[in-house]
């Protein structure tokens, strides 16, 4: 951020802290332009999510606006908040991605076996499924036996979609552990 812009933004935020609503609006608009450029340079792998992270950053800026100190440059303050939101976004994104990849892997590995192998393996999987805790078993049955979508399974179980994915993921992991145990 160039020094002139930094100073202008800092002045606007200081005025906003004292109650100037117009200055606050100008601050948010100018800050969002600066942050959009900042995020565009860094979020090259997820350009479609830049606006989401920008909005989360603006919400945090709104809540933390009292923490900007008079006489300090605004760049480090603004970028620190933006960086934090971006890190949070990637952490969340990685977690969701890991769950989805794992679910896809489970789906893609099963059909490529001969019918005898599949029957034997199917029996083992079924046995492992029956040994899962009730919630995990119900979710996996909904998704894999009754072929419901995640949304439908979530509605039926009264859970959020992400909770359904997490529960299923844990169930798959447990089944995998049980099968590995049998193989050894």
């Amino acid at each position: 951020m160039n020094p002139a812009r930094d100073q202008r933004l800092a002045e606007l935020l200081v005025q906003a802290q004292s109650g100037d609503q117009t200055a606050y609006e100008s601050f948010l608009r100018e800050a969002s332009e600066v942050l959009r450029v900042y995020l565009a340079k860094r979020m090259t792998s997820a350009p479609d999510r830049i606006e989401d992270v920008l909005q989360e950053t603006l919400l945090t800026v709104h809540r933390a606006r009292h923490s900007f100190l008079l006489g300090r440059p605004i760049g480090p303050w603004l970028y620190a908040i933006c960086q934090h939101r971006m890190t949070e976004f990637y952490r969340r994104h990685r977690r969701t991605e890991a769950i989805e990849i794992s679910t896809d892997l489970q789906e893609s590995t099963l059909p490529e076996e001969s019918s005898t192998e599949a029957d034997g393996r199917g029996a083992l999987v079924w046995e492992a499924l029956m040994r899962l805790p009730q919630k995990q078993r119900e979710i996996i049955e909904s998704l894999k036996v009754r072929d419901l979508s995640v949304k439908e399974a979530a509605l039926q179980a009264g859970m959020s979609e992400s909770a359904v994915k997490v529960t299923a993921f844990r169930g798959y992991q447990r089944i995998r552990q049980m099968l590995d145990g049998k193989r050894k």
């Binding site: 802290q17 109650g19 919400l59 933390a64 009292h66 303050w77 620190a80 908040i81």
Partner: protein, 220 residues
């Protein structure tokens, strides 16, 4: 919701705010109160009767100064980190150097010492906890008025600082200077308290939670 609409909602939700205090000011206030509290607490519990002897031994002086430096550095970083800004790399490195030096000092003393003489140190643990709690509570309350981004880390630093300050005070109370005793009944409780501070920080510094609910309100 578009960013334009969000800005419009945030402006509608806008209210003047009281600016947070500078980290330096907070640190000065906390240090003054802590020093006073530690002095009163130490005198109230009762100082060790070989205090003059303690100050004549280099080992003891270095050990005490290491504990104090950990408390001061952790408090400085905790207050600085309560304001979103660039990371204070030099300070963080200094803290890790001081913490490592403190641990290394004790470990070297344990290795070189003869007979282990840990003794029973429950009173030391009690003193550390009793002295650390108000210092920690004060620091948590000061920091919660700012806007720490990494709540767990700041919680850890705040608890480490309060616990190290309490251990600093306890060194004027406890007569057992043996390294094994220092490790088990002083260093480990400080470490345990600081670890508990991570969880406490996540709970105590709820301004982000408030942010989320405000965001939810805005988005409705």
């Amino acid at each position: 919701m578009s960013t334009e609409n969000l800005i419009a909602d945030l402006v509608r939700d806008f209210q003047p705010v009281i600016r947070a205090s500078r980290p330096g000011v907070l640190f000065a206030k906390w240090s003054a109160v802590s020093l006073l509290y530690v002095a009163i607490g130490t005198l109230f519990i009762g100082t060790r009767n070989d205090l003059a002897e303690m100050w004549s031994e280099l080992d003891s002086i270095v050990h005490t100064l290491l504990v104090l430096s950990v408390a001061v550095l952790a408090a400085t970083i905790a207050f600085k980190a309560s304001i979103p800004d660039r990371a204070q790399r030099f300070l963080i490195m200094s803290l890790f150097v001081a913490l490592t030096a403190w641990f290394a000092w004790i470990v070297i003393a344990v290795v070189t010492a003869g007979e282990p003489h840990a003794g029973h140190g429950w009173k030391c643990v009690r003193n550390i906890v009793v002295i650390a709690l108000p210092l920690g509570a004060l620091m948590y309350s000061m920091i919660s008025r700012a806007a720490p981004l990494r709540t767990g880390t700041v919680g850890w630093l705040a608890a480490l600082s309060a616990a190290a300050a309490a251990d600093f005070a306890t060194r004027f109370i406890c007569r057992n200077d043996h390294a094994v005793h220092s490790l088990i009944w002083h260093f480990l409780p400080v470490l345990a308290l600081s670890c508990a501070g991570v969880l406490l920080g996540r709970v105590a510094f709820r301004w982000e939670g408030a942010r989320r609910s405000a965001g939810a309100e805005v988005q409705r």
